[in-house]
C-alpha cells in the first residue's frame, strides 16, 4: 500500500500523481485538513508511546501509515526546499519512530515503531534537485526504508 500526502491544492495535480506513482495507492489531500505543526513535546516518545498529543486530522494519517509500505509527499517548494506545508506533514511523522536508539548502517537512528517505510517526493516549482534527493534519502533512512525518488512535476 502506498500513501500519498498531497499538500497542494486539492485536485490540481491528481492526474499527474496517478501517472507518476504506480500501484495501489491512496491520495490524502491535506490542504483542507486541520494539521498543526509538531510542537516537539516528546510525549509520543515518552508519555503516550506512538500517540501524538495534538488531536487533529493527522491521527487518521498515522493510522494509515502503520499499514503502508510507501509514503510519497507531494509538495510545493520554497527557498530551494519543500515549503512549510510539505515540511509540516513530515515533522509530524515522529510517532512512527520510538525513543530507543540504535546504529543502522553505521548511523545513530531511532528504532522504527512499526516497520520500515519507503519515502518519495513529488515537487512543484523551482528547487535544488540534488538537495531534495539527499533529503529524501535521509528521511527514508530515518524510517529504515529507501528513497523512492524525487520527481519534479510538470506545469499544469
Amino acid at each position: 500500500m502506498t500513501i500519498v500526502l498531497n499538500t497542494l491544492e486539492e485536485g490540481a495535480v491528481s492526474g499527474q500523481i496517478s501517472t507518476l506513482i504506480n500501484g495501489d495507492m491512496e491520495v490524502i489531500n491535506t490542504s483542507d485538513m486541520k494539521i498543526a505543526h509538531c510542537m516537539g513535546c516528546n510525549l509520543c516518545w515518552l508519555k503516550t508511546p506512538g500517540i501524538c498529543a495534538i488531536k487533529d486530522d493527522y491521527e487518521g494519517i498515522l493510522k494509515k501509515l502503520v499499514v503502508a509500505e510507501n509514503l510519497w509527499l507531494v509538495s510545493d517548494t520554497r527557498f530551494g526546499f519543500v515549503d512549510w506545508r510539505g515540511k509540516k506533514v513530515m515533522d509530524r511523522i515522529v510517532p512512527m519512530l520510538n525513543m530507543y536508539v540504535e546504529f543502522r548502517e553505521g548511523l545513530e537512528r531511532h528504532e522504527v515503531r512499526y516497520h520500515p517505510l519507503n519515502f518519495g517526493l513529488l515537487y512543484k516549482g523551482k528547487a535544488d534537485q540534488d538537495f531534495l534527493e539527499e533529503w529524501s534519502r535521509r528521511v527514508a533512512s530515518n524510517m529504515a526504508g529507501r528513497s523512492l525518488g524525487v520527481i519534479k512535476m510538470g506545469e499544469e
Partner: protein, 222 residues
C-alpha cells in the same frame, strides 16, 4: 554589537533546549559588552515583533533544533513571511543543534541554512553546530547535570567569540560540532554496554512523565 536572536523551535519556551542554549550564548554576548533581544516562534504573538526586528537590525541569529533532517516547519512558515529584499545590509547566522551527537547528522541542515542568507539579501555569518542536546531537558542525576552544565557553558564562550570575531566562520566554531561520526569503539561499547544504559534512562524519564505503556508500544496496530 546588538544581536537579534530568533528561536526557531516550535517547543514552548520554558521546555525549549534551544532557549537554554540561547540563554547561555546570550550570557557570553553580554559578558563581551554586546546586547541582544530574543523572539520565540513557538509563541505566535511574537511573530510580528520578530519580523520587525529582522527587518530593522543588521546582526541576526536563528537558533533551531534539527527537525526531520532540516529546518522545523514552523520556522519555514516564518521565513516565508519575511521580505526577501532589504534596505540596509545585514548578516544572518545560525545556531543548529539536535538530539543525536554525530556531526554528519547536521550537514544537510547546515547546507540549507548556508543557502538562506542570500535569498534574503543578507550575508552569511556561519553556522554553529552541536548535537547531543536531548539531556539538556532531562538531566536528573549529578553526572548528567555536570555534563550538561559543561555543554551550556561552552555556548557562553561561543557568545564571547561571536562578539570578538563578528561571525561563526572561525576554527573554534567549526570544531564545535565534535565527531563527524562516532569512532568504531563507541559502536562496540554501545552494543555491549551503552545501549542498555540508554534504554534504562529513557524508561526512567518516561516513568517520571507518568507513562504506563512500553516505549516501543504499537498503539495503532490491530
Amino acid at each position: 554589537m546588538h544581536v537579534v536572536i530568533i528561536n526557531g523551535s516550535p517547543r514552548v519556551q520554558k521546555n525549549s533546549n534551544t532557549d537554554k542554549i540561547i540563554q547561555s550564548f546570550g550570557k557570553g554576548l553580554q559578558a563581551s559588552g554586546a546586547t541582544y533581544e530574543l523572539y520565540s516562534l513557538s509563541n505566535r504573538q511574537e511573530w510580528d515583533a520578530a519580523r520587525e526586528a529582522f527587518i530593522g537590525h543588521d546582526q541576526i541569529i536563528f537558533a533551531l533544533p534539527l527537525f526531520v533532517e532540516c529546518v522545523p516547519g514552523i520556522m519555514l512558515e516564518f521565513l516565508e513571511s519575511l521580505p526577501t529584499e532589504r534596505k540596509s545590509p545585514a548578516q544572518l547566522s545560525f545556531i543548529l543543534h539536535g538530539g543525536f551527537d554525530e556531526g554528519h547528522q547536521f550537514r544537510l541542515g547546515e547546507r540549507f541554512l548556508q543557502s538562506l542568507p542570500e535569498q534574503f539579501g543578507c550575508t552569511y555569518g556561519g553556522c554553529l553546530i552541536q548535537g547531543g542536546s536531548f539531556l539538556i531537558r532531562f538531566r536528573d542525576d549529578e553526572k548528567m547535570k555536570e555534563t550538561m552544565t559543561k555543554k551550556l557553558d561552552a555556548y557562553i564562550k561561543m557568545g564571547q567569540s561571536f562578539v570578538s570575531n563578528g561571525h561563526f566562520m572561525t576554527e573554534e566554531a567549526r570544531k564545535f560540532i565534535g565527531y563527524e561520526k562516532n569512532p568504531w569503539i563507541v559502536h562496540l561499547l554501545f552494543l555491549i554496554f551503552i545501549k542498555r544504559l540508554v534504554r534504562k534512562n529513557f524508561e526512567r524519564f518516561a516513568q517520571q512523565w507518568g507513562c504506563t505503556r512500553p516505549l516501543d508500544d504499537k498503539p495503532y496496530l490491530l
